[in-house]
Symmetry: C2
Subunit: 605 residues, 2 copies
């Protein structure tokens, strides 16, 4: 294989493997580890590692033994003690959503072309596909959605007889590693197949989906289910027929239920044709407004997939209030590994810190699953930027155990991937740990998002989304900036439980990183350290660039210890990141200087 | 034929026509007009119409008689007297540049797909192609460039044996109407054909182009020549080899000279990778800086094609200073019929007024030709918006006689096309005459350009090009807006002759429509009518919308007199124009209000 390193030792996966238990045995053999495996199907994903006079033993479900084997091997490779004890994942559903199109392109993909599709058909690169399934299983991911949630017309055919045999073939290959497949479907698909409506309450529509489900499961009995983006950004959905999202989701859920299938239904529903003049509509309120009242109305095989924040994967958002309600509904939190707004796998941005903050606000037991938009593709390191692998690795581990130490996870990944130790290990770990804060400093100031170039979303454009229809406004003028989302403003704050309302209500106590998300403030507003708001914006951006350069200097010290190809890929991107950081700093500072007329105290503008 | 009306009576052009004189006879026969034709080859494009006892007579060159026939028929159809007298075109070269790609798409095209190309090959729609050649000849256009100046790799093959037979076939069809073909070529083409350099001073390169020219003219002896965009917006050019544009153009000119071919060389050369922080570089100065000193260095079969303004077809620009220098060089002025920045054939924008203003500043005899970027395509009325036909019609007439009355030309077109008379004729003529000023009022304020959405260039984005690399900055801040281009600023003004310097130097006397092109002024600056600059911006935009609505009301009165399909096409676009005008007004006013903090005196914001 001609790939850059990842956290697993390179190995061709034998075609002969048939089950996760066989895969577990093979993984252990590969590394010459002797361990007894005991499969107890009722344990499912869970496993227990024990050590005794006869050696170590992994007992677990069919998938559990595979997860246990990986865990054991990870520890062994980095010299940690045998991880004895019982472990079960925090979330039963650990999903990775690919936004891959049948032509091989990937929406918001920064890691090369699609792993699954090529030129209108399924990929035939079985060694790579098996290696990918292995990679995902090693961090416990157990569901993969193959195709883009924005279902292109040709992708409807994934659930027709044209492509179902190929879905089945792929499902079998992935089942060896305990990974089940899911497909994104188009809510209006019956319309393309002779039904005159897609109304979820129409008998003909219900019959059509029942028959479709029967057909699908005849070919692919292991299919996890459907992922659906409905009534969102011009996708079809139940609103077109005056039906609720519960009625829409239940239509599909009832069709899939006889086969054990599930519907993963996205809550990313908002008005994407907003008039920017309208200051009453506030997009972050939309998911809650569309879904909160539907609690208890969904079939039990529906999983609502909610973005972690109320907007759309911006650099800094508070937790989505929707995650904190709907106690009678199965919920999954959606995060975005692919770095659409967070550096596009050019700039470094390690995400775990973000998830940790969200998880800290989530009571235990709130979620049934987590889903991540994939950051993988045909790139030689899987993820475009070699270090972006960490986000996939950390996502898998987070889905087992939220709020594991960010530092520990990062060190583990760096050790496994590059066999680093000592100072270089410390250097790489520190750089990654700081990368998110650095990126945030030179881009979005204090919780403002959307100051990006429209369309591709890389680089600054402070007014790029200000007069658009997407509901994305900072309302900056010569006096002030931000949107008041308290009860004096749009009232978004009231969607939170009291404790969070209290945290965010008062600008004087609101976390400063979210200050301009919740409040509209004049440029002269005094921050808690005595600096003005405008000075803080200037300072943050200057610091962001300075810290990027410092990070680059540190990364440079790794040139001798990283594989040459990895280092070159990393360094090439690091140089682009420095350019990007300078551009952000200069544009954002210039923009606010033009508006405010306030000079930088240190005269750097 | 299933097309909407145009200024010529519908007729299938017989395949049997072989020459312009035959075409002239056929045109006259079509309309049952008896006129003697006398071909005097030495008269070329000129003709004389006489009236005598034996009836009228058209004497002219081979093409002259055709132009004379059309002129006679125009007058006859609208009831004007016989246009007796001698006429010759003001410019020998009257060129139309198509930005058509071989796949059938048209860069900046708003009138459907390409007339010439379809799916990687030449169109086979001969009735349509002949009709197009006829249309062009009726207004005296005599050169057509087939393909996009941004030459895509596959379009290099137009001058290879693969496509030359097809170019020849098309050239023959167009020659019947006195229209010669031109092709856009890629300056670096030798590199694709085994020559290791494209350096114009390299023997191998010179030999390659000589051989290429011989090959081309073996197939297409009538070819007018090459159109070249070099060292411009990432196109290859002589600068890559440290050579001047004279050396670059002469390379091709010498190759074509033995065959009578010409090189039309664009002067649209500027730094498209400008740093927005750099306030010394001023893009409007670029064409002059790159070309003015080369006067006299070009071969006599080179024609320098200069945009009418110093920027790039913005709504309002002063005349390009380059047009006023280089007395020893053949020059052509380039205008843009396709409405890239002027409403995209949705909004009404009749252009002749703009050309008249430029022509008024151009001493007679300055130019050898005019070129227009085509606004035509496979649309049913040729031009997307039926009324956009007027711009093609008026361009042809302007090339014969600059500064003909805008009103007369517009009336003539409206009469010929829709047989209007009386109040409806007046209504349509008035609407078209005012359309440019109306569009200008609701879009770019007082000579500022570039406040458009990047990429597609329709609709407002006041900061869309402000932090870009394209050299397009208005530098608006909370105090002032515009760029000082006098000697106190960038010095652009000094590229003009003294009379024009005097006209533009002082804000107090500078034409107000160009005020912010030449000057940077505070929002409180007093205009000559006593209003402040900011109030004028507000007022203009309000008026622009109000006048658009008035124009729409007038157009509505034409519903009964225009053909139904025409009216529907027009009205559909009129509604979009109103929406667009409102969006421009609100965004531009909001933008300047946020910056300036100055309230509208009439409290409309």
């Amino acid at each position: 294989m001609n790939w850059e390193p990842c956290w697993l030792p390179a190995a061709d996966v034998p075609e002969t493997l048939r089950s996760p238990a066989q895969a577990a045995r093979w993984e252990l053999e590969q590394q010459n580890v002797e361990s007894a495996l005991s499969v107890q199907p009722q344990l499912g994903d869970a496993y227990e590692i024990t050590d005794g006079p006869e050696g170590c033993r992994i007992m677990g479900g069919e998938t559990g033994v595979l997860y246990g084997a990986h865990r054991l091997l990870f520890n062994r490779r980095v010299g940690l003690p045998l991880p004895v004890g019982m472990r079960a994942p925090a979330y039963p559903f650990r999903m990775l959503d690919h936004w891959d199109n049948l032509d091989g392109s990937v929406e918001r993909g920064y890691a090369g072309k699609s792993l699954f599709f090529d030129n209108g058909d399924f990929s035939k690169d079985w060694p790579r596909l098996r290696a990918y399934a292995r990679l995902l299983s090693s961090v416990g991911i157990n569901v993969v959605c193959l195709n883009n949630i924005n279902v292109q017309p040709c992708a409807q055919e994934l659930i027709t007889e044209r492509f179902l045999p190929k879905v089945a073939e792929l499902a079998e290959a992935f089942s060896v590693f305990g990974v089940r497949l899911m497909v994104s479907v188009d809510f209006s698909m019956p319309l393309s197949y002779g039904v005159p409506t897609a109304d979820p309450l129409d008998d003909r529509v219900q019959a059509w989906w029942r028959e479709r489900a029967a057909l699908i499961y005849r070919y692919v009995p292991s299919l996890f289910g459907f992922l659906v983006k409905a009534d969102s950004e011009n996708r079809p959905g139940p609103y077109a027929y005056g039906r609720s999202h519960a009625q829409g989701a239940n239509l599909l859920a009832r069709a899939l239920k006889p086969f054990g299938g599930r519907v993963v239904w996205r809550c990313f529903v908002y008005n994407c044709l907003q008039d920017w003049r309208d200051t009453h509509t506030d997009r972050p309120m939309a998911a809650y407004e569309n879904f909160a009242d539907l609690d208890g109305q969904f079939e039990d095989n529906v999983l609502l997939q909610m973005k972690h924040g109320p907007f759309d994967f911006q650099v800094r958002e508070p937790i989505s209030p929707l995650l904190l309600v709907m106690p009678h509904t199965a919920k999954a939190m959606e995060v975005q590994l692919t770095q659409e707004y967070t550096g596009q796998q050019i700039d470094l941005y390690a995400m775990q810190g973000m998830w940790d903050e969200i998880s800290a606000d989530l009571p235990r037991g709130t979620l049934s699953g987590v889903a991540a938009v994939a950051n993988t593709g045909l790139s030689r390191c899987w993820t475009g930027h070699p270090f972006a692998q960490l986000n996939l690795f950390a996502f898998g581990l987070m889905a087992w155990q939220p709020m594991s130490s960010f530092k520990t996870v990062t060190r583990l990944w760096a050790q496994l991937t590059y066999s680093l130790q000592g100072v270089p290990l410390q250097t790489l770990t520190d750089s990654l740990l700081l990368s998110r804060e650095i990126y945030e400093k030179y881009t979005a100031p204090l919780g403002l998002g959307w100051m990006v170039n429209p369309g591709h979303h890389y680089g600054p454009s402070p007014m790029g989304y200000e007069y658009s229809a997407w509901g994305t406004y900072h309302r900056a003028d010569r006096e002030a900036v931000g949107v008041d989302r308290t009860e004096r403003g749009t009232g978004y704050l009231l969607q939170y439980p009291p404790a969070l309302q209290a945290r965010y209500r008062d600008p004087a106590t609101c976390p400063e990183k979210l200050l301009l998300f919740f409040h509209r403030l004049p440029y002269g507003y005094r921050m808690r350290d005595g600096r003005t708001l405008i000075q803080r914006i200037y300072d943050n951006h200057m610091e962001g660039v300075w810290e990027t350069r410092q990070m680059a200097d540190k990364i440079q010290t790794l040139s001798a210890v990283l594989p040459e190809e990895v280092y070159q890929t990393v360094w090439e991107r690091m140089e682009k990141q420095i350019t990007n950081a300078c551009e952000w700093r200069d544009v954002i500072c210039n923009f606010f200087y033009r508006l405010s007329g306030v000079r930088d105290e240190k005269d750097r503008l």
